[in-house]
């Protein structure tokens, strides 16, 4: 299988994730977009592990970091929901002065 096919899928998922981060308002969907971007990075690592196998090891590290990120992010969103009663990312201005 050719590497550029994997890179095309990765580029498509990256641009879809960026579009989601810019346009969406629901905080959980923004986190889903972040997950899409991290997955596209992993596809890139796996595609280029034809050159060096260390790419797959980095992809495993990326999976661990994204698990930590999603854990803290969802905890923050749940607190936001308990305080504000909504998870709209455009309405969150508690820290704004």
């Amino acid at each position: 299988m050719n590497v550029s096919f994997y890179l095309l899928i990765s580029a498509a998922m990256l641009s879809i994730g960026i579009y989601g981060i810019i346009t969406l308002r629901h905080a959980i969907k923004i986190i889903m977009s972040i997950e899409l971007i991290l997955n596209s990075a992993n596809i890139n690592f796996v595609a280029f592990s034809a050159v060096a196998n260390i790419g797959q090891a980095f992809a495993i590290l990326v999976i661990a970091v994204s698990a930590a990120e999603i854990c803290v992010g969802l905890a923050v969103i749940y607190n936001l929901y308990k305080i504000e009663g909504d998870v709209d990312a455009m309405e969150v201005d508690t820290l704004k002065w």
Binding site: A12, L14, S15, Y19, R25, I28, I63, A68
Partner: protein
């Protein structure tokens, strides 16, 4: 030639994650995307990484997404999108910047299984990053527990 089909499924499901109005359906499409990416890893003979993708993402992250979606149920108003024009312009620029050089690469994905060498790296070259990542996970666990238990309201 199952690989292009799986790639198209991954891209279409990730489009549906953004497009779908219902947030529960978005989470389910996200699980489909994760599974398709895992199958792509398995096709590229990244065996350990593919199994980790299916275990961690479709198992843990998918279930956690569904749990959080059902815990924070809201009605309607914040589902809609805005800034569509700016988002479309920026994301298409990013797509072409990344994809046009990618088409020139003439290289074949490594077809040999690589689990043994990848795991051996975590005991030699990548030992310190491995330990650091375990500390990061521990801190995230403690932080999430504190955040979920700490608000009185």
């Amino acid at each position: 030639m199952i690989s292009p089909l799986v790639g198209v499924i991954a891209v279409l499901a990730s489009v549906m994650v953004i497009r779908s109005r219902d947030i529960v359906r978005a989470a389910l499409y996200l699980i489909i995307t994760f599974s398709a990416v895992g199958v792509l890893f398995l096709i590229a003979r990244a065996d350990f990484l593919g199994m980790m993708q299916i275990l961690v993402y479709t198992g843990a992250v998918g279930v956690m997404m569904l749990l959080m979606v059902n815990l924070t149920k809201i009605e309607g108003s914040s589902i809609k999108r805005e800034n569509r024009l700016i988002g479309g312009i920026i994301s298409s620029i990013v797509f072409f910047v990344v994809a046009l050089p990618a088409l020139r690469i003439n290289m074949v994905v490594n077809p040999t299984p690589s689990t043994k060498s990848v795991i051996a790296m975590f005991f030699h070259e990548l030992l310190i990053p491995f330990e650091v990542i375990s500390i990061v996970l521990l801190v995230a666990l403690i932080g999430a527990t504190y955040l979920l238990g700490g608000v009185k309201k």
